[in-house]
């Protein structure tokens, strides 16, 4: 165990014990326990003492043990908390948003299995010609489009296989090599915001909003976030072009497309198309996106296009990670911990704009160093509680702050540790951390400003 992990272990245990030994005025017994779990999870997530998905599992286990009716503590006669069955906590694993992600994972993994992601990329890239700057835009547009429906990490890895031959043919001293190597992870991070299934923080935020009785349709999310994704993509493209101006005007791009033609592959293309179509048109037909998500799972498994081995290889730990985040939010809300925590600050004196600025900035900073999902999981319960304190305006305010947190989390890309796509790009050895730090900071700050502008000028008009 490294020093950091050991420190995290001690701090986590101390954090867990503090609320149990103290008596905070105005906080229920269950609130104290929820705070213990919150502190333990926060420290373990920050120090990565144990893998982040294990911390999520630990959260759910602690809640079942300490906060459910079947747990070891008898809450009858103790005021301030009405414990629910343990199924409330383990049920987060079948939360509609988890099912939505499951459908997305099956679709994405099947796409990888039949090389649909690679071939689609080659088809989509062909209209972008061979000018260095437009190819870069093409690479970014395709990366963002794919990462809106697939994992940002898998999309980046796939695009790296596309850009390595391009970079290899360029002159060693050409700054555009760095620009291209950065364009892919940045576009993947940005593309993730475009749809609910684009990236896990979106899931945590949407699930938390659902618990407040606020349903967010797939298409509505895209209406809120897609315009921002497009603008940010252009911003990132321009930033990278200016920081790393291409030395040669043209680059060679070899694209040989071999779209697979087996019946399984064709079934996947059709299923992919129909599922995405049904998702984005949820507003017209009203079939919930999590129900649509069952379509690829059913069709691809019953036809054996997606086999038992493929099911085993799904990224299950990501679903655990999200479920833990959702569960943490439930107990913070139900035990009164969240409102107690935000109650200490006179939020009412702040304008709602200030609240959004604070949460946006804190999210951006935290998620540069922590997992984006963890950042969203820690902040969203607090943010949504602000509505009860009057600092935000009802359901509208909840949606605004939810969007601010989810989108700012994805704009954190200054370091290799900020997101897995950044880590992959750095590992190629084409660029140095300082390059990522500079362009990532500029893009992060512009992203945050745009998010705040949207929350004043765009979202209020369409929500």
């Amino acid at each position: 165990m490294t020093k950091v992990k050991t420190t995290g272990l001690f701090l986590g245990i101390i954090g867990f014990c503090i609320p149990l030994l103290m008596n905070f005025q105005g906080l229920s017994l269950a609130g104290h326990i929820a705070m213990s779990i919150f502190l333990l999870a926060a420290v373990f997530w920050m120090f990565e003492t144990i893998p982040i998905y294990s911390t999520s599992i630990l959260v759910i286990f602690s809640q079942v043990l300490l906060l459910s009716t079947e747990g070891i503590i008898d809450f009858s006669g103790v005021p301030g908390y009405d414990p629910q069955s343990y199924t409330q906590f383990i049920g987060t694993l079948a939360n509609p948003i988890i099912i939505l992600f499951l459908g997305g994972f099956v679709l994405a993994d099947a796409a990888v299995k039949y090389d649909f992601d690679k071939n689609l990329t080659r088809i989509l890239l062909s209209p972008f010609g061979n000018r260095t700057s437009t190819i870069m835009l093409g690479l970014m547009a395709v990366t963002a489009a794919l990462s809106a429906f697939m994992s940002n990490t898998a999309t980046t890895a796939m695009m790296i296989t596309v850009i390595i031959p391009i970079i290899a043919k360029m002159d060693k001293g050409d700054p555009a090599r760095i620009g291209i190597a950065l364009s892919v992870p940045f576009a993947a991070n940005i593309g993730g915001i475009a749809t609910p299934i684009g990236t896990p923080p979106n899931a945590v935020v949407i699930a938390a909003l659902n618990q407040q009785g606020l349903a967010v349709a797939f298409g509505s999310w895209m209406l809120y976030a897609l315009p921002l994704a497009i603008v940010m993509l252009l911003v990132a493209w321009q930033v990278l072009l200016r920081l790393h101006p291409p030395a040669t005007e043209f680059v060679a791009l070899d694209l040989d497309t071999k779209l697979q033609k087996s019946s399984h592959a064709i079934l996947l293309y059709v299923t992919f198309g129909i599922t995405v179509l049904l998702w984005v048109t949820e507003g017209f037909h009203g079939i919930k996106s999590s129900i649509v998500a069952l379509l690829p799972v059913v069709v691809l498994t019953l036809s054996s296009a997606f086999s038992k081995q493929d099911i085993r290889k799904l990224p299950w730990e990501v679903l655990w990670l999200i479920a833990g985040g959702i569960a943490l939010g439930i107990s913070m809300k139900d035990t009164g911990l969240a409102s107690w925590l935000v109650g200490g600050i006179a939020w009412g004196d702040l304008s709602s704009m200030m609240v959004l600025v604070v949460f946006g900035a804190v999210t951006l900073i935290m998620s540069n160093f922590l997992s984006n999902t963890v950042t969203a999981s820690l902040l969203i319960p607090l943010a949504l509680t602000l509505v009860t304190s009057g600092a935000l305006d009802g359901t509208f305010g909840m949606l605004l702050v939810g969007l601010v947190i989810a989108l700012s989390a994805s704009f954190a890309m200054i370091l290799p540790i900020s997101t897995p796509p950044n880590a992959i790009a750095e590992s190629t050895g084409v660029l140095k951390t300082k390059h990522m730090l500079l362009s990532g900071s500029i893009i992060g700050v512009i992203g945050l400003i745009l998010v705040l502008l949207l929350s004043v000028f765009y979202w209020p008009n369409i929500i």
Binding site: I52, D109, V112, D117, S151, N152, T153, A154, A157, M158, I160, T161, I164, P165, G192, T199, P200, K313, L314, P315, E317, V318, L321, S371, N372, T373, V374, T419, P420, A423, I424, S427, T428, G429
Partner: protein, 166 residues
Amino acid sequence: MKHKIYIFVVEDEPEVLDAIVRDLEEFEDIFPIEMADSAEEARDLLSALIDEGHEIGLILCDHVLPGQNGVELLVEMQDKPSTAETRKVLITGQAGLDETVRAVNEADLKHYIAKPWKKQELVETTRKLLTDYVLEQTENPMEFMSVLDSERIADFIRKGRSITDN
């Protein structure tokens, strides 16, 4: 000390040994190179490295050595669990058919480089075999991307077999 994956070279002629190590320079930052001039010395160094917690990713071994020969050393390594996965290459001018067959059958020989070798062949073989090794034997092959076959490693990540979104 951080756990490392070593490249091991066994060669009794100092000039030849130098030439091999020079050709493999580009890997040295990430895969330290250890050398021995006889099978006996190699055996001691190998067990010392493994005792310190390191791994041997690749061994490039001459056949004709003073004392025990190269093929015997490779077969011996194949029989030990700690070096069974090490990718094994003969780099020699003088291994006969029988011995080479034995190396293929009993030491899972991955490649035979005839002396005199071309730098490109040596580098490409090393890159391919070390990439095979890290993809099969390590949890996070991403960290080796800068010196190995980055396309293959990226494709491995694409298939979701090491890191995912978080």
